[in-house]
């Protein structure tokens, strides 16, 4: 049960990453590798503020969002002002961020060791809400700190998702979505597609940075390697979400992405508990995403051939 709660919590935290990837991958139709750097960047900034400067966890987490947004806007500026291919821009920013992150953190790993974080907040809140450090959940004995963390993350991510949904339905958000769908049209209707791209990538990577800050606080350490391969993780979540919901509208796509992230984390937890070598995790994730990208195409070709035979 503790394992399940842990996987659920992490799945929900990483849903923010998946939402960020949804913006870059589905709205702007680019694979934005900046994510790999900005996740760590958010975690690094938040952890340094928490551990070295003793900043309030709420502000430190907000700083994680801002750090990610800065990384995203650099990527966006490279793509629009300097006309650098989106993939290359992502690679450049991600690579640069690796050094930046090391500088920010001062070393490759920061353990939190008793610093006040959202986790310690949840621990305190949990013992009050559930009156005791352990609680009985349908016959299972679980830590109230873990349960509170899960509830807190669930509500927090739900609010963020609601805000994102609302934003994508405003004039600005609609124009942003359209600028990925048909830039020519948006220009003809007076939209500055460069600004939308920069802003969209800032928002996307801001969410990723936020995920990084929360993840670090959840696992009680930040590591300079934690972002590696996370864009693929986000893609997997988005793809699972689309497969489950059929994703027609923005709202459904957002819900699907969150469910996708939770489900994917569960799958990984189950696979690991059944003895999957953790070293193979990235390989399996990559193969999964590849299959999800290739299979629908092959399926439609197959059915098309079958139809042709009948004609």
């Amino acid at each position: 049960m503790t394992l399940l709660i842990g996987a659920l919590t992490l799945g929900i935290i990483l849903a923010l990453l998946a939402l960020g990837v949804y913006i870059s991958y589905r709205i702007f139709d680019i694979a934005d590798i900046t994510v790999d750097g900005s996740l760590t960047f958010g975690a690094a900034v938040a952890s340094v503020l928490l551990v070295k400067h003793g900043v309030n966890p709420v502000w430190a987490t907000t700083a994680g969002f801002i750090a990610g947004a800065v990384a995203g806007s650099v990527s966006g500026i490279l793509q629009t002002r300097f006309h650098i291919n989106s993939l290359l821009a992502g690679i450049l920013v991600m690579t640069a961020l690796y050094s930046v992150n090391l500088h920010v953190m001062g070393r490759s790993n920061i353990p939190f060791l008793g610093a006040a974080t959202l986790s310690t907040y949840c621990e305190q809140a949990g013992s009050v809400i559930f009156s005791g450090s352990e609680t009985n959940l349908w016959g299972w004995i679980v830590s109230s700190a873990d349960l509170t963390m899960l509830l807190f993350m669930f509500i927090f991510v739900g609010l963020i998702a609601l805000a994102l949904w609302a934003f994508l339905r405003t004039d600005l958000g609609t124009a942003m979505r359209a600028s990925g769908d048909n830039p020519q049209m948006v220009k003809a209707l007076g939209g500055n597609i460069e600004h939308y791209r920069i802003f969209g990538l800032a928002l996307s990577n801001g969410l990723v940075g936020l995920a990084g800050a929360l993840w670090a606080q959840y696992q009680n350490f930040a590591d300079v390697q934690m972002g590696i391969g996370m864009v693929v993780w986000g893609l997997a979540s988005v793809i699972i979400g689309e497969a489950l919901t059929g994703a027609t509208g923005v709202g459904i796509a957002i819900i699907g992405t969150i469910i996708g992230s939770i489900l994917f984390r569960q799958l990984v937890a189950i696979a690991l508990s059944f003895g999957l070598n953790p070293n193979d995790l990235k390989l399996v994730t990559a193969v999964f995403v590849l299959a999800a990208l290739v299979l629908p195409n092959m399926m439609s070709k197959f059915t098309f051939r079958k139809q042709k035979r009948f004609l």
Partner: protein, 283 residues
């Protein structure tokens, strides 16, 4: 009506192109010169048809006005302002456009309502107010019903699921949702089947007449050129070759236009044969 309009117009034309030059891929084998010192003035309220063969520069003329690229030389004035340096999205506050390709004018994966919520903010600030206002929905339903295409109950459908004709009709409605100072139509019926093309042309004529829009319309169809508009500008090799005013245009028939084109072609052949001759003699 027409004479009234011409009497009412102030001395200053709405659109002025003075000595506009543009060369693409300069200095390479692909060099094209679609604008070679174009001078053109368009009065407010006039409906100008632009004709010309392939590569004559007619689409480039529209794109230059819309700001799709920066011109090399010259000056473009719109509504009393020098817009030569304005980027495309800024000029959109004055200009409505419909493209040749039905896929260009709408965002395919978004709903009809989404698309119109963008059109309702053409050239205006886009902030954090709700895109689908009740007011917009009601007005949209009414105006889409007027199209008689049965789309009023499908406002939440993705626009990509509609036919080319439906999309062009909607694009036209979007381009004129906020009354533009200038409407640019770039062969907007060329990609449609004849029946849809007729529908869209009828709609075009209706909207332009009702709103009194200043319009520039590029077409390949001589019939459209004769039936529509009050002025014909014929382009050739990046310049204006003939300019028929409203009174001249009334006497014009399809055959006249075709013979003009025949003349151009003959002259071009002559050019080439002369060039051939000279080359044979001197090289």
């Amino acid at each position: 009506m027409k004479t009234e309009a011409s009497l009412l117009t102030v001395n200053r034309p709405l659109v002025t192109l003075s000595n506009v030059y543009k060369t693409f891929h300069a200095g390479t084998v692909n060099e094209v010169r679609p604008m070679q010192g174009i001078n053109l003035a368009i009065e407010e309220g006039s409906f100008v048809i632009v004709l010309g063969g392939n590569g004559s520069g007619k689409s480039t003329l529209l794109n230059a006005l819309a700001g799709s690229f920066a011109i090399d030389e010259g000056r473009i004035e719109l509504d009393g302002q020098d817009v030569s340096q304005w980027p495309e999205h800024r000029r959109a506050s004055l200009i409505g456009r419909v493209f040749q390709n039905p896929f260009s004018g709408t965002a395919p994966s978004m709903s009809i309502l989404d698309n119109f919520s963008l059109a309702a903010k053409r050239g205006r600030f886009r902030g954090l107010s709700w895109a689908h206002s009740r007011h917009l929905q009601d007005e949209l339903r009414d105006r889409v019903r007027d199209l008689r295409m049965g789309l009023e109950d499908r406002l939440d459908c993705a626009i990509g699921s509609l036919s080319g004709g439906q999309r062009q009709a909607l694009t036209l409605l979007m381009a004129t949702w906020i009354k533009p100072r200038l409407l640019l139509l770039d062969e907007h019926t060329a990609a449609l089947d004849p029946k849809s093309a007729d529908q869209v042309i009828a709609l075009t004529d209706e909207i332009i007449a009702r709103e009194g829009l200043t319009t520039l319309m590029v077409t390949h169809s001589m019939q459209q050129a004769i039936n529509l508009g009050d002025r014909i500008v014929m382009m050739h090799k990046g310049n204006v070759l003939h300019d028929y005013s409203a009174t001249q245009k009334k006497r014009l028939r399809v055959d006249d236009l075709l013979s003009r084109f025949e003349n151009i072609r003959r002259r071009e052949l002559l050019d080439e044969s002369v060039a051939e001759l000279l080359r044979a003699r001197y090289i």
